[in-house]
């Protein structure tokens, strides 16, 4: 499979001489299936169910009928608070946990009961899990060594991988001689060396400081596009998820709350959990009748939701200080606190009719002062009503 000829063919299609098996597969498939529509999904999970027994003897449902299908070369993030089931889901894909019910297909083949070492996926672990007793090059070449590749092939591939992650010439270093960021890169190179069909990443950036983290986010995204393989990325950091993903699966209580593109999830969340978990939000109850939603203070706006009651999601950044020309809502209140943050300004204020609210101003001449009475406007096209009422 790894013949020189093969490599020469694919080289032109991927950057820096990198080849990835899904890509090769894609090309061969395309010759007999021009549309490419019959290509199997890199990952499909059907009705996954998993329960644990807690030390106290109670049964905890970690995965509750989870189904998800990854598109070709998709970057999907599993996002949720700790204990939501995202790590369990990742571990059932890698094979470290077995499902109580449901099926897992990788590249169209069922792997539900296969042990981890037989699955064509690789993982970047949260704390890297590098082999301390081996140098960088042996860490990176480990999967190839296990697969029984020749020394020359391993050396060549290790060189390629170290170049890819920006660690040229560090192959002979010990793991303990590397910084956290470098160890992260070794873990990444090691996981990619065997050309997995799918790369799983378990909160890989959580141990890095903020600057390095942002840099790695961009690098990972670029790398994923270059390789053209599926990435499943687990995180509890919503900004990270919004920045990197093609789609985000928001998990809570073992269920996928919502699955969609980052902007859709942010602007049009399907439920209160997603609305609250992603970004800052003002959530206001509304009554809906014949296509009109009415707020507690009597203001109304057109709304197409079917239910009788709902919750208005008013993102702090849709509030403005000047009235727009199009129809808008007006909220008035007294400033409780305001925070200058460079490019924008956060204002906490208290409305007599709607309660405590937050505004995030992008354009402001002066910081609203504590005790000042302010009016904010939100154009009705920026409003989104969720068919759920908080209890």
């Amino acid at each position: 499979m790894d013949t020189d000829q093969n490599r020469a063919v694919t080289r032109t299609f991927s950057l820096r001489g990198l080849t990835s098996s899904p890509f090769e597969r894609g090309r061969t498939r395309q010759t007999d299936d021009v549309s490419g529509f019959n290509m199997p999904a890199p990952l499909e999970i059907i009705g996954a169910h998993k329960a644990f027994r807690s030390p106290e003897g109670a049964t905890v449902t970690a995965l509750d009928n989870v189904s998800v299908k990854l598109a070709q070369a998709e970057f999907m993030t599993l996002l949720g608070p700790s204990g939501c089931g995202k790590t369990t889901l990742l571990r059932t894909i890698s094979g470290f946990e077995t499902l109580d019910a449901g099926d897992i297909l990788i590249d169209g083949k069922e792997v539900t009961n296969q042990p981890a070492f037989r699955r064509p996926v690789n993982t970047v672990f949260q704390r890297y899990a590098l082999f301390d007793h081996m140098n960088v090059a042996r860490n990176v070449g480990y999967a190839l060594e296990i697969a029984g590749k020749s020394k020359r092939d391993i050396q060549a591939r290790v060189g390629e991988m170290l170049e890819l992650v920006g660690l040229e010439g560090l192959g002979q270093r010990n793991i303990s001689q590397l910084s956290g960021g470098q160890q992260q890169r070794v873990a990444l190179a090691r996981a990619l060396a065997a050309k997995p069909k799918l790369l799983l990443l378990d909160e890989p950036l959580s141990a890095l400081d903020k600057n390095l983290r942002q840099k790695m986010q961009q690098e990972l995204k670029t790398l994923q596009r270059e390789l053209g393989i599926g990435f499943i990325f687990v995180t509890h950091d919503q900004e990270e998820a919004l920045t990197m993903s093609d789609r985000i699966a928001v998990l809570a209580n073992g269920k996928i709350q919502q699955l969609g593109a980052p902007d859709a999830l942010y602007t049009k969340p399907a439920n209160l959990f997603t609305a609250d978990f992603l970004g800052e939000s003002n959530l206001l109850p509304v009554a809906i009748e014949r296509g009109v939603a009415t707020l507690a203070d009597g203001q109304n706006f057109p709304c197409s939701n079917e239910s009788a009651k709902g919750t208005l999601l008013l993102r702090p950044e849709v509030l403005r200080r000047t009235a727009p020309s199009e129809p808008s809502l007006t909220v008035q209140g007294t400033v409780v606190a305001s925070y200058y943050q460079g490019k924008d300004c956060l204002v906490d204020f208290e409305s007599p009719s709607l309660g405590a609210l937050k505004a995030n101003l992008r354009e402001f001449k002066s910081l609203p002062e504590r005790g000042e009475t302010v009016s904010f406007y939100a154009s009705t096209s920026d409003l989104h009503v969720i068919n759920e009422v908080s209890s």
Binding site: A116, F117, F125, Q126, A129, F131, Y142, S176, R190, A191
Partner: protein, 269 residues
Amino acid sequence: MKRLLSLYGIAFFAFVYAPILLVVLFSFNANPINMMIWDGFTLDWYRLIFGMETSVTESSTYIDTTPQLYSAVRVSFTVALTTTAISTVFGTILALAVARYRFRLAGLYRALLMVPMIMPDIVLGIALLIFFITIGMNLSMGTIIIGHCTFLISYVFVTVSTRLAQLDLSVEEASADLGASPFQTFRKVTLPSIAPGVMGGGLLAFIISMDDLVITYFIAGTGNTTLPIHIWGMLRRGIKPEINAIATLLLLFSIAVAALGLYLRSRQK
């Protein structure tokens, strides 16, 4: 307070090391009758051990000691090397089993593995002797090896368990994730990671086996004199200066083994 503590420190080290230093010093004392009186430097006691020509008169030596001493050293080494090999392998396997698998009564199992370490030597010695007699086994080098293994496995188990407890389990998962079968993971990741513990356990077992007197005394039978038993036998004929030389050589040997252990451990990192 600081002065008091440093004084205490000096006193403590004097208390521990003064007797040992005296033995080393006496081993070079030329006075054959009274060790307490310095009579000039000599290597005669060492020469005597190795059966070389000395100026020592016969009354101050253990007669005909060299061949017996060599034989005792040989028996001790054979026993220690065999028990070390056996107890290192089985102790490591036990530690892996207890650390990796959850089973009922794991706590009891762990506690039972510790018991041989705290069991009084004399009890273990008598128990082993009665056991060997009961099952009709003749006392031999074999019974010494079996006897030593019964408690040395515990020492290896404890040392390896400590190392295993520090090992990050995700390293083994990473190995499996990269395609290694459970056996490959053990050979390439787990074993190299716990190697310092296994080595430490092995060296400890070796030194304890070399050094054991009480248990060995019960189960050695005749004709299988180990070095500690031989020395014990010499002492019963009075304290002669060459005993100091033997003790000093033993001390040197122990230090060498410990240094080897430290060196191997430092090379691991």
